[in-house]
């Protein structure tokens, strides 16, 4: 316990000095009379891996869409990457990367064609793209698969490639929506190696997942219940607070009382 | 039986809860009918006509008067020489020139035949053919009525011979065509889409592992669309009859029976499409490209089959709507009975049987 307390102090000192890349103040989103997000407050720091958890229908997707500039909030103050969600949605989009389990890459295009396409979208110059493509393929050990169709790659490779492509334009923040569904435990961890690496390079990772052990890989975790953030802290402290051995227990204790069956 | 009704009920839920389906089912048929009906009738109105009358006798003047009073033509001018014909076409305003040979009435009375030349501007071939056919129709009509008492059979020999659309009203022609097209669209496309949707959703897996037999699944899918298509056929006929004044000369019962046969054929075709399509999009494309376009282009609905190149004429024999349109025209416009359309009916029946056989065989009890 003594060690833990030192740990938090160190943590606090570091976080307060760090740059806030996402700031959310009193975010409210209503659909008619239904309140999907009820006064959310949180901030995410540069280089942090931020786990965004919640039961189905707790309002995760809604909040994530708002942060990505895909949907506008009913009220509240939000800034993402230093840009205002209401007025600077375009700049936000340029500074974030997004990857979801469903959205992968174009299956009927080759690896290189996909890279070229996304580089094109973000206006990366040909010279830069060629260099990035080389580094990326080398890192993924996909040099031989350069001209293979995405459809022919195993799911794990697709996910790693999709993640790398989402990083192509050097975004400050990367949103990952259940990125590791359906792969074997080794591939899943290899994917997390990528996430750690990106975080170590100063990228901010905002991730949702249904794997509770993955929640423990995050620096901080927020758990949404019924449109509210019911808990937000490091996995370690959450486990202490809820007297639970693992995050699964924390999650179950919090989400059990949920009202929204949706 | 209870299973079957449960299935049908579920299909109706799907149909009535989807706005798009409802629009395709009921909005589009009516809209298309109105569109074709009005657009086509306007098209033939007030076409500019020039006449080179070398005879200027009673008969030619009567024919001219008859043409101009039909409402389809406006007299642009009388021409004085053959050279004028080309010149006036080049200006583009006049769409048709009528040339009566000298001594028209005399020749007609003496020899029982006389020549009138119908020259149409074929830069819009369809329009040209339509105009020419209207003209010859009106002339023939006149000769039949006015000169009918003559013993000798009268003959006019227009340069262009076009015998479709004897009724003279274009909408008469289009009602059977639209009916064939709409019934094909609804029956084939909607069934194939609704079956492939279950494949996409994964519910087909559950239906397959249930005690339902394939025939029950097929019938359950077909029954609601059969009912709706029959309603549609009736609506089209009623609108055609009451709004556009298309005569229904033959028996309503025969007309509906033939329609049901055609609908059944199209439904089987839809099931067949669903067995080869993986998802709704494929089913839709196949229905659109393999069924809709040929129905419009090759069935004689818009482009007369007689004027098609031979290979296309041969292909048109394979188009079910072609036969259905013949049947409809015969029963609706000519008022003929079953005896005159049994051949076409048989062909449709044969097609329905073949499609059903293939569909039932191809409808798999398993995935893949």
């Amino acid at each position: 316990m003594k060690i833990e307390s030192i740990n938090t102090k160190v943590g606090d000192a570091v976080t307060s000095a760090r740059e806030k890349v996402i700031e959310v103040r009193n975010l409210v989103k209503k659909f008619g009379s239904f309140v999907a997000n009820d006064h959310l407050n949180f901030e995410v720091y540069r280089g942090e891996i931020f786990g965004f958890l919640g039961a189905n229908g707790a309002g995760k997707t809604t909040a994530m869409r708002i942060l990505c500039g895909l949907s506008s909030p009913t009220s509240g103050e939000l800034s993402v990457g230093g840009f205002d969600v209401y007025r600077q949605a375009e700049q936000i989009k340029r500074n974030i990367g997004y990857m979801s389990q469903k959205f992968s890459l174009y299956e009927d295009m080759t690896v290189a064609e996909n890279i070229r396409f996304y580089a094109g979208i973000y206006g990366i110059s040909v010279k830069q793209r060629k260099e990035k493509e080389r580094v990326l393929l080398q890192k993924l050990q996909l040099e031989d698969a350069r001209d293979k169709l995405i459809a022919s790659l195993p799911l794990g490779w697709k996910q790693k490639l999709a993640f790398s492509v989402a990083l192509l334009h050097d975004p400050k923040i990367i949103f990952l929506d259940e990125p590791t569904g359906g792969v074997d435990p080794i591939t899943r961890r290899q994917f997390w190696d990528f996430i750690y690496e990106a975080a170590a390079e100063g990228k901010t990772i905002f991730v949702t997942t249904h794997y509770m052990d993955e929640a423990e890989y995050c620096d901080r975790v927020s758990i949404m219940v019924d449109g509210r953030i019911a808990a937000l802290d490091t996995p370690e402290k959450l486990k202490q607070q809820f007297l639970s051995e693992d995050m699964n227990g924390v999650f179950l204790k919090l989400a059990r009382g949920a009202q929204n069956g949706e | 039986m209870k299973r079957f009704w449960g299935f049908v009920k579920k299909e109706f839920f799907h149909i009535f809860r989807d706005v798009r389906t409802m629009i395709i089912l009921f909005g589009i048929p009516i809209a298309q009918l109105m569109l074709f009906g009005t657009v086509i009738t306007n098209e033939i109105k007030d076409a500019h006509l020039a006449i080179y009358d070398q005879s200027k006798d009673e008969v030619t003047q009567e024919i001219t008067a008859k043409l101009l009073s039909s409402g389809y033509f406006i007299l642009d001018q009388y021409l004085e020489s053959t050279e004028d014909v080309e010149a006036i076409f080049r200006k583009g305003k006049v769409k048709e020139v009528l040339v009566f040979e000298p001594n028209f009435a005399q020749t007609l009375e003496k020899e029982g035949k006389a020549n009138v030349q119908v020259i149409a501007d074929a830069s819009d071939p369809n329009m040209g053919k339509l105009l020419a056919s209207y003209t010859s129709g009106i002339i023939n009509d006149y000769i039949l009525k006015e000169m009918g008492e003559l013993a000798l059979p009268m003959q006019l020999e227009p340069e262009v011979r076009m015998f479709y659309n004897e009724g003279l009203r274009s909408v008469y022609m289009f009602v059977p065509g639209i009916m064939a097209m709409i019934l094909m669209l609804i029956s084939a496309m909607m069934t194939s889409i609704s079956i492939t949707r279950e494949k996409e959703l994964g519910t087909m897996e559950i239906l397959l592992v249930s005690p339902l037999r394939p025939v029950q699944i097929i019938l359950g899918k077909v029954a609601p669309y059969l009912a709706l298509s029959i309603i549609n056929a009736l609506v089209i006929l009623l609108i055609g009859h009451w709004v556009f004044g298309v005569p229904i000369a033959g028996s309503w019962v025969l007309l509906m029976a033939e329609s049901i046969l055609f609908i059944l054929m199209a439904l089987c075709l839809g099931i067949l499409i669903s067995t080869v399509s993986k998802n709704q999009m494929v089913a839709m494309f196949i229905s659109m490209i393999a069924l809709m376009l040929p129905t419009i282009l090759l069935s004689g609905f818009i482009f007369p089959i007689e004027n098609m190149p031979v290979p296309l004429q041969i292909i048109s024999h394979l188009m079910p709507p072609r036969w259905f349109i013949v049947i409809l025209k015969n029963v609706m416009l000519k008022g003929t009975g079953f005896l005159y359309v049994w051949k076409e009916t048989l062909i449709l029946l044969g097609m329905a049987v073949v499609f059903t056989a293939i569909a039932v065989r191809k409808f798999k009890m398993r995935l893949e």
């Binding site: 799911l155 074997d184 080794i186 170590a200 249904h210 949706e262 | 209870k2 579920k10 398993r366 893949e368």
Partner: protein, 303 residues
């Protein structure tokens, strides 16, 4: 109750199942555990008589899956992946439809589904498409149970569903098991393996191991150490760099470390990590979980 003997199946150029054999006893809760592409769905579809095997035989309740497909379809309840429900039908209508299709009614078998259905009954007028993942899952299970099947085949019923719903779902399965229903369930979540009586660990069309979960863990003899420090990423990189280490993977807030030679002690590992300047080190030996074993099996299988 379920007997699978040397079943193989391939699509075009992919070998989906390679000579799979196993048996499931009456009243057993049997799990097929493995990632996407392991062949779980193909295997279930063969058992559900929806696909024909290339080779081998399989029987459900003594009925051959190829020959007696009609009888099998009567006595098995099936829940395909992605909760196959009619999105434009309400909860009640979905259930009623599947009941009539199987020649029964909701009232007739209400007792069996009561516990599950009661949880979604307040929403029975709601369209299935508007339900949350957990509720869809419950409705799909109710639909699969409506004809009182002897065997229940569930293809990844917990994928994409939150932890609470997953927990509730497994509780329901346990309850059904006590009513004598044999259950075959597949899942990509390793932590759900422990909830089954026996599991088959699958990877790339092969079964790596079949045993009760405790047995699988007990049979694992290699040394396993857990380590943590303030910097997880650097910790793993440092571990992998050391040539005494075979594998190092993140597990929650710890890294699980398999040394190359047996008997590497926690003390030795800690000493090494200290040389790498890791702060607040914690290292100790641990007992493996299913996931550890599975990962070791995958690595072993690929070599």
């Amino acid at each position: 109750m379920i007997r699978v003997n040397n079943i193989s199946k391939s699509y075009k150029d992919v070998q989906a199942l390679q000579r799979i054999s196993f048996e499931v006893q009456e009243g057993e809760l049997f799990g097929l555990i493995g990632p996407d592409g392991a062949g779980k769905t193909t295997l279930m579809r063969i058992l559900m008589t929806l696909l024909l095997p290339d080779e081998g035989q399989a029987a459900m309740h003594g009925l051959d899956v190829v020959r007696d497909y009609k009888e099998i379809r009567q006595l098995v309840g099936y829940m395909p992946g992605r909760f196959s429900l009619y999105q434009d039908l309400s909860v009640e209508e979905n259930l009623a439809f599947f009941a009539t299709v199987f020649g029964t009614s909701i009232e007739e078998n209400y007792a069996l589904i009561k516990d599950i259905y009661q949880q979604i009954e307040p929403f029975k007028k709601r369209l299935a498409g508007k339900l949350s993942g957990g509720m869809k899952q419950k409705l799909a299970l109710s639909c699969a149970l409506i004809h009182k099947p002897k065997i229940l085949v569930l293809d990844e019923p917990t994928t994409g569903v939150d932890a609470v719903s997953r927990k509730e779902f497994w509780d329901m399965l346990k309850k059904l098991q006590t009513q004598g229903i044999t259950i075959l369930v597949s899942t990509p979540y390793m932590d759900e393996a422990g909830l089954c009586d026996r599991v088959a660990l699958m990877q790339k069309g092969e079964i790596l191991r079949i045993d009760p979960p405790e047995q699988i863990v007990a049979n694992y003899t290699r040394t396993l150490l857990a380590a943590r420090s303030t910097e997880m990423h650097r910790l793993i990189l440092d571990l992998r760099e050391w040539d005494s280490i075979d594998t190092a993977y993140a597990f929650g807030q710890f890294a699980h470390v398999t040394p190359k030679k047996e008997g590497l002690t926690a003390y030795e590992l800690e000493r090494y990590l200290k040389t790498k300047n890791h702060q607040q080190l914690q290292v100790h030996q641990i007992a493996p979980g299913i996931e550890d074993v599975f990962m070791a099996l995958i690595v072993g299988n690929e070599e």
